[in-house]
């Protein structure tokens, strides 16, 4: 959709080629299956002042996910579906299942502004419109979980599994949905439900469970859900959220788990000539940009189709997409075929080739060009890869080394530093995943030496110990406690999407977005901070700095006085001519440049350019 003409020439640059790939290769369709039984509406935490329910948590998480998705991956499709409801709304007319939707939208479709808006306040009207009840009860033959899976599977029928990844995500806090039943009815229901799930999985749908547990009773996977999603042994542990002491932590965990991991590429990582392992790369950090622009017809607001045509500059003939490229070199035209160019760029025969190791402090702060890429081992194609990777990872961590490797990316082959990242966890879940970060290193021609541009001929002055002491004091005073890298949201982006959301919903009021990146003026005005700043300032600038500055400013004002005098002189000079008459008689071009400039500076116009430019500027100013 990006019709920015410059963007179309990006074939050579590698500007986020992985981003594009990502979008095209892994479109995703997801159905959120939300348990709406009364159990979900009981307060989640005991005797908490805020009576938060699990249902509330889930609505929050999904709203958050939808908002993220509409910015980053708006091509993905989403359906929201409740089960254990009073009302029913689904194509199959199955009881206890309610497919939530808003107007002008298919049940499974891309998220739009209205969906987010209305879904975020669904709790207000949920009980009256949809209602909650226990779906599976003894005495009734109803199996709402079975129904829900069936509805989800039916929703996901469109699109081929080959190109789209399809997921069903179940949110529930009931670890034993058939607990109320006994005997043959129970076993029968469990069997059919699990069979339903198997069928769905055989069709290529993945079923995930996001269990919620209470502090007093942990969600027990083995009762039923382990069988439903087909987990064995170790994996169960992997699925269990660390039973949240705080609901907030659980919310965070849920938010993270809702995002599907998307790998960018699978690489072969050659450690030595005979040991070559398999790793997947993930783009954990990439700049989010305010989406693409589409050109519209300003009258009908319909999208326009852009047509690109190639025209020969010499003959004006229309060309088919020309295949050959050229470079003027030594006044000669040197032609290349695209094949030759790609051969030139292919300097390495491997994806990723280990070259050796260096101590971590050899990686300097300026050894950076692009956002890093995360790598994690995979045993999918080469068994044993993970083991090699884990061994290497732990050696590198213990010995304080990073690995230098050559990444033979065909668009920009590059040296990379691989830094082993230790896993960091907190109550809120994983903060830093274990693996390696791939940092793209500059080549010699990419590094510049601006600090050497202004060399002093004598020894460069350095700060005295006293000054450094004062500076240290300042550092201690203005300390950001608990600073974390991603705590700020991008004000430009927030505003951009805030405006779009308002416009999309037809609201008149433009949202006010808080710029979190501004310094904390209040904190900086605290007496202790002010004192530290003043002390440091006095030690490096001298006591009378402000006064000196004021004088310098006054001197500058003097300079501007001088400029004013010049303007006055010019005005006087230009007044000597009757400009309007000169313009009418076409005699302006006979004037000297100095005279022309006197007019321009008298009227505060720019005096740059050739004589014709000056003349035309005067004519414009005179309104001729």
């Amino acid at each position: 959709m990006d019709l920015d003409p410059e963007g179309l020439f990006r074939d050579d640059s590698d500007e986020d080629d992985d981003n594009v790939q990502e979008r095209e290769a892994n479109k995703e369709m997801v159905v959120y299956l939300i348990d709406a039984s009364p159990k979900m509406f009981t307060p989640a935490t005991k005797a908490d002042e805020k009576e938060e329910t699990h249902f509330h948590t889930i609505v929050n998480c999904i709203t958050h996910a939808l908002k993220t998705q509409i910015i980053g991956r708006s091509y993905d499709e989403v359906a929201i579906c409740f089960f254990n409801t009073k009302e029913k709304k689904n194509l199959q007319e199955l009881a206890g299942v309610y497919v939530y939707n808003v107007t002008e939208r298919e049940p499974l479709d891309r998220p739009d502004a209205r969906l987010i808006k209305e879904f975020s306040c669904i709790e207000d009207s949920f009980m009256s419109n949809i209602g909650s009840r226990y779906g599976i009860t003894s005495g009734s033959r109803e199996n709402t979980l079975y129904n829900a899976l069936w509805v989800a599977q039916a929703l996901l029928r469109k699109g081929s599994v080959k190109t789209v990844s399809k997921r069903i995500v179940i949110f529930t806090n009931e670890d034993d949905p058939f607990g109320g039943l006994t005997g043959a009815v129970k076993t029968d229901m469990i069997r059919t439900t699990i069979q339903r799930a198997r069928d769905a999985q055989d069709l290529g749908l993945s079923i995930e469970l996001l269990p919620l547990s209470r502090p007093d009773e942990e969600f027990n996977m083995s009762l039923f859900y382990a069988d439903l999603i087909g987990l064995e042994g170790d994996e169960i542990v992997d699925y269990l959220p660390s039973s949240g002491e705080k609901l907030e932590d659980m919310t965070n965990q849920l938010k993270k788990r809702m995002m599907k991991k998307r790998k960018v590429k699978t690489l072969a990582f050659a450690i030595t000539n005979d040991v070559c392992i398999e790793v997947n790369t993930y783009a954990l950090i990439r700049p989010t940009t305010p989406g693409a622009i589409t050109w519209l017809d300003s009258i009908s607001n319909l999208p326009l189709k852009a047509e690109r045509s190639f025209i020969c500059n010499d003959t004006g003939a229309l060309l088919q997409d020309p295949q050959k490229r050229f470079q003027v070199y030594n006044d000669k035209v040197v032609k290349f075929s695209t094949r030759e160019l790609s051969d030139v760029k292919r300097v390495s025969s491997h994806h990723l080739r280990l070259l050796g190791f260096k101590p971590l402090d050899y990686l300097k702060d300026y050894h950076n060009l692009r956002p890093s890429t995360f790598i994690y081992p995979s045993d999918e194609q080469i068994f044993g890869s993970t083991r090699v990777f884990v061994a290497l990872h732990s050696s590198m961590r213990r010995l304080g080394r990073f690995a230098l490797a050559f990444y033979g990316n065909p668009t920009r082959p590059q040296l990379v530093a691989l830094i082993a990242q230790e896993e960091v966890t907190s109550a809120g879940g994983q903060i830093e995943p274990p693996g390696m970060h791939m940092i793209y290193l500059p080549y010699s021609d990419d590094v510049r030496y601006p600090e050497e541009v202004h060399l002093t001929s004598d020894d460069a002055p350095r700060a005295t110990d006293e000054q450094i002491k004062k500076a240290s004091n300042l550092l201690r005073r203005i300390d950001l406690k608990n600073f974390s890298v991603c705590q700020f949201s991008n004000p430009a982006l927030q505003r951009h999407y805030g405006i779009l959301e308002a416009l999309a919903l037809g609201e008149d009021e433009m949202p006010d977005v808080k710029d979190e990146t501004l310094p904390d003026e209040e904190g900086l005005a605290r007496p202790g901070v002010v004192k530290a700043v003043e002390e440091f300032k006095a030690s490096v600038y001298g006591e009378n700095y402000d006064q000196e500055e004021a004088e310098a400013a006054a001197a500058k004002a003097g300079a501007s006085k001088k400029r004013k005098a010049l303007t006055d002189a010019a005005a006087e000079k230009s007044a000597a001519h009757n400009w309007a008459e000169l313009a009418d008689t076409g005699k302006l071009k006979d004037m000297t440049v100095v005279d022309l400039k006197s007019y321009l500076s008298a009227h505060g116009l720019p005096v740059s350019g050739k004589k014709e430019a000056l003349v035309s500027r005067i004519l414009t100013h005179l309104g001729k």
Binding site: P5, K261, A270, N273, C276, L284, R286, P287, G291, I293, D297, S300, N301, K305, S309, I311, P322, Q327, K335, V344, V347, S349, R353, G356, K358, Y362, L369, S372, S385, R387, V390, S394, L404, G408, L415, I439, P442, S444, D446, V447, R448, Y449, P450, E452, D459, A460, P461, A463, S472, L475, D479, F483, C486, L493, L500, V513, L518, P519, F536, G542
Partner: protein, 688 residues
Amino acid sequence: MARNKEALVLLLDVGPSMHGVLQEVENICSTLVHKKLVYNRSDEIGVVLFGTKETSNELAKELGGYKHVVVARDIKVVDEETTNALQNLPRGTSPGDFLDAIVVGLDMLIRKFGNIKGKQRMCLVTDAQHPLRDPPQGTKKDQVDTIADQMKRHEIKMDCIIFRESGVRHNAVMDENDQLLYHFRERSVTKVVQVDSPTSLLGALRTRNVLPVTVFRGDLEVSSSFKIKVWVYKKTSEEKFPTLKKYSDKAPASDKFASHEVKVDYEYKSVLEPDTVVPPDQRIKGYLYGPQVVPISSAEWEAVKFKPEKGVKLLGFTDRSSISRHYFMKDVFSFVPEPGNTKAVAAVSALARAMSEMNKVAILRCVWRQGQGNVALGVLTPNISSAKNVLDSFYFNILPFAEDIREFQFRSFSSLPSSSQPTKEQQEAADNLVKMLDLAPHGREEILKPDFTPNPMLERFYRYLDLKSKQPDANVPPLDKCLKKITEPDPDVIDYQAPLIKKLGNVFELKENPKKKKARTQDRLTYTGADDQAKLLEEPSAEKVGVSEALYPPKKKAGEIGDHNPVQDFEAMLTQRSSSTWVQTAIEEMQKYITALIQDSCDRDNHQKALECLVALRKACIIEQEPNEYNGFVTKLCQKFRPAGDAKFLQLLSSKNASLISKEEAPDSDVTEEMARNFCLKPEPSSQ
């Protein structure tokens, strides 16, 4: 001289001790010239060689002395001749005296440009190993002072590259020479770098001159009352592959002034009326919000969009450890104090040193220009200068916003099943590898330091460009040895550490997943053959060899049929049909192999094997429409081996349905079905 026009004199040491790296010196200087021919057509270049057998320079003619210094090219605008002057540098015979060369180069520049100031530069490449000639009066240091004064007066700069191989022992002469060169630096006219491998030599010379441009000049606001005047430059910036223009071949060959350029034209057409072009003033921008397109005019957008004030503001300081290295987002900036402002210099220096001592970093919010639509949030880290006359400064790296981070969960290594955990022995092997493959060995310069590592792709492109300008149909040249050391581990190190590497290979077991094998290896193969496509042909069938072999083409050519699994080898050869001759070769190889099998021994095993091969060959010949190849071969076999009593083999032939290929099976065959059926039976009576 134009603002960005440069005059450069290359001073190259070609004395005996430099012979080993002259090829690299040639290469790096050629790349420099190639880039000038593309980007700076009007720059001028002169070449001075020293350490030569001959002497040829103006100073020697006029004053005498200045021996063994040859002006290979006067200062002239770059052209093809310049590259020629740098090819096949003569191997000199006398130890080079770099001071003499500097004086000659300086003299050339002053003669040519007199007092015209402009960008003038000398570039010295030497090993500075040999004693310098004693000056007629004063000390060598005095001489350096005089030269430096001259350079300063004429604003001539110098880059000096000292090349010393890692094995060379330092001696008093070298120390003295180094001191003299560093003295130039202290007089602030010269930049000195020392490298110890040919690869770093290639990266040591800046081959393209970029005029430093500030991104921002103004205040670094610590608080509203305390501001430091700084200038911000780019510290790193990717040198891109040149954007080649599209070529149009429409211009007649006779047109000497044809530009051959292609203009790209965009027309926006309405969906409803595909034939009408919508003029620019009737277009309006639409932004995507989910499936909706929100139209908004530029003026409206301008009124509501985010408009931060220009300025660089400090948010606060934090521990260095709270910002992991991998959060750095982009190319790096450098904050230097405003030139000439001693107060700013002191403030920057004090802050930088305090930050460095306390291991702290500063968080800044930057808006470089008024009207910029976004803010940059980043981390300021100290850069304490090690050179006496370089000021302390800061590096600045952009950090991500909350929206830029995707939090994926990965399984923790400790919870992996034991089959994925390394054993003690394996861990030890990995430890040893990390310890031994050390790229920063003690007592040596760091290997592959980014600051001295050239870009192999660009290096090759410019070489190819030059080659193509002379031979339009030239092939892409392979990477040369020095550049290969960037893309692959140094073969010397690998040889040296061979036992260790072998150990690693032995303790870890890697197996390819049989289910995924096929597609996967295909995928990999497209990646190989970096230098020439021919390699691909040599690649053995990836399906039967292990992973490692698929990635590293073994020496053995695929054009052979091994004893181990002849039928598969043969099929592999056939599937590699990149040309029709390949099929022919495969068939011939198989025929040879079968003949050898039958000839070699008479036991049953071989017969069975030969028969299997023959069946395979037969099948292939039917598929490849080469029935006569097979028929001819079998007939010959019969004639050859019948007397030797191998008739039993022929009987087997018919039993396995490996008789001649008939017309029914392959239309090209001359053999009828009946002939085929009778083939094995017929000869028998005659042998009785």
